[in-house]
Symmetry: C2
Subunit: 414 residues, 2 copies
């Protein structure tokens, strides 16, 4: 019941009705485990113990969720859970990097969920296993370490050194006080090995593959990238040819048009190329309690569901009482293109109409039209309702100075 | 057995072993249907009929896959398939836009697959239904019509008019000869309604929602976007507030840093914001026989699978005989950063070493170093093996003129 465990508990409670509709049954937390029972804050509405055995041996518990970290101890927990016929869910990439094939063997027909072990909330495990199941996977390229992506983005955008970017990342909580596991590429290696198992069934350990981190990167390398049209990213790469799979983690120059190179900041993304589907890309938050919990709970739902999940994903209705919003009530910022006669007082007439509808202008551009007697007004508004902008458009269209039906395009700011 | 149907048949055959491993059983096509039996080329190794009833009534058939188009006739086929206890798979977004709730009701516990109905090969249905199942969906923003995205991208990148871009799209097969269904936003509306059903359980028909196409867009609008830092995209938008959901299709200005605005050409992408996971984005090919077939087959696999799908997605091994490639054999293009003493003959020494290892130079930059007696050499190579570049790096490092350990970064061109 650390950061991710607490998020799982809170989301299961807050989104209880929705999750029950999707799972087809209620999900109830029977018990939580902590290492140090004296430190537990009184925020959980279920019992907390420091004795993991009491969970592993409880016949009323169907699913054991392991969010502890480490390798040896969690593997023992997993084995005991499976021996006791419980489904097992883990976010533990280090344990899986060494024991995923052991676990698959021990599990037999018992489900094991590990969506949270790679790229936080991005459902990349399910995508590889289910959504892209028809495909021979030709390659996987992943930005699967947010710390490194944040540092490289800062170096590019702010011109700072690796050391400065790392300090900033530590201050913001994006990097550990000992960052070597992230910036050395080892965290990304664990995740790549998990993805490669699903795509290729290939068994390899971290020691077997090429792992380079980002500690040697300088501003000179960033400038080279800008000069020659590259983005520089720490990538996990898996590629298949006829006889072999290459697995490697290293800083990589990518052509500027490559979609994955456009992923900046702490965000993660995985590009998967399949022989049928071509390139697909999956993007989202790679860390954080809630994003990781989202993945853990998706595994819980999958395990809890009966075989035939209903077509739209829920049997009882979800989001009860939710109505379709009438078009007139939709809110947006707007852009208007208005062609008017080029004479005095024209702008006043337009702005008066906008004022009447309480629409305020954000930006404004005026240009000569191809028709010499006319001007093109390009303006954007702050947020207002669809009904107000439609009324204003009709009024503007009815002005004598207006030469063509005005064009409106919506602006989405969030 | 049109374009998508033929792709499904071909992929099921070519990737037979892989698909059987993932599904846990062999997938066999019992029969195919065409409208005009005289037109059938002799390329299928299963019987072809023009009598759909012979499929709907065949007790040996477990799954009916409908890839026909239209609304009324496919809906009748779906109903008969379900009445006869067959699973049903469709790529038919128009039929689903009108009958998805009817089908869910009729189906009961029979599975219905429709991954191919939205955004081709992108597994967005499964992502919303399964991967993001823990989340209240706050918003969905989708580029879900490749024709429109191609036209808008051409207008932005080549400065051409809407009409010119449309003609180009038609020439390349990205737009129909009657393009009104795509450029009017109706195709995107069907897809948005399907996504909104899964996210919100909201029932609405195309007639109920705001639909605007891209026919009015001019170069002036594109220039406004460039001037004020926007990208212009045709978006399908679903947004939830406390009481209502808004559903709308229209051209939209997006801030340049928004990930979805960076999606160009015929590609599709859907940004989904969940209350736990934050923003996720799913990107890929939205159309094409093989990409759509990839989605259809993912539904077939899901239906064929026994309840407990094995941890890594397959029971028997996949990609047999595939070995981990030794690091020394990995191929890449490389970037080298070398600090050398600034004196005559330096470059000759470096290039001689690269020549000995048969490494050819692609680009080259020389800079003054902060240390006045030194130069920084930044160069990139064409593709060679890891073992050759490592040998070259060692030789360069051993040169007397080399002042620091040379830095190598890999360049990924594909």
């Amino acid at each position: 019941m650390g950061v991710v465990g607490s998020s799982v508990a809170r989301i299961l409670k807050n989104n209880q009705e929705l999750i029950a509709a999707r799972a087809g049954c209620n999900i109830i937390i029977k018990k939580g485990v902590v290492r140090n029972i004296s430190k537990v804050r009184d925020i959980f509405d279920f019992p907390i113990t420091n004795e993991v055995e009491s969970i592993l041996e409880d016949p009323e518990i169907d699913i054991v969720v392991e969010l502890a970290g480490g390798i040896k101890e969690p593997f023992e927990i997993a084995k005991k859970a499976l021996y006791n016929s419980k489904a097992f869910i883990t976010a533990n990439k280090a344990m899986l990097a060494y024991h995923r094939y052991d676990l698959q063997k021990i599990a037999g027909d018992l489900p094991i969920g590990f969506e949270a072990s790679v790229a936080g909330g991005i459902p990349i495990i399910k995508a590889l296993r289910d959504g892209l199941g028809a495909n021979h996977i030709l390659s996987i390229c992943g930005i699967i370490n947010g710390t490194c992506n944040y540092i490289l983005t800062q170096m590019k955008e702010c011109g700072v050194s690796f050391e400065e970017a790392l300090k900033e990342a530590q201050k913001l909580g994006y990097a550990e006080s000992d960052p070597s596991f992230d910036i050395g590429g080892f965290d990304a290696a664990h995740k790549l090995l998990i993805l490669a198992s699903i795509a290729y069934g290939i068994d390899a350990k971290p020691e077997d593959i090429l792992i380079e981190g980002i500690t040697n990167i300088t501003q000179e390398d960033i400038e080279f990238a800008k000069e020659f049209g590259y983005n520089l990213k720490l990538l996990g790469i898996a590629k298949k040819d006829k006889e072999s799979v290459e697995l490697r983690i290293h800083p990589t120059f990518l052509p500027q048009q490559a979609m994955i190179g456009k992923v900046d900041g702490v965000m993660n993304a995985i590009s998967v190329v399949g022989d049928s589907v071509g390139e697909t890309l999956f993007y989202g938050a790679g860390a954080g309690g809630d994003a990781t919990a989202s993945a853990v709970i998706s595994d819980i739902i999958e395990i809890a569901r009966t075989k035939s999940s209903p077509m739209l994903g829920f049997k009882t209705s979800i989001e009860k009482n939710l109505k379709l919003k009438p078009i007139a009530e939709i809110q947006s910022a707007y852009y208007l293109r208005i062609i008017v006669l080029d004479k005095p007082g024209v702008l006043a007439q337009i702005t008066t109409i906008l004022g009447e509808e309480e629409i305020s202008i954000d930006t404004f551009l005026q240009r000569k039209s191809n028709n010499k007697n006319c001007s093109v007004l390009l303006l954007s508004t702050h947020i207002c309702t669809e009904s107000k902008i439609q009324t204003a458009l009709e009024k503007i269209n009815n002005l004598e100075i207006t030469q063509e039906k005005p064009i409106m395009i919506r602006i989405e700011k969030n």
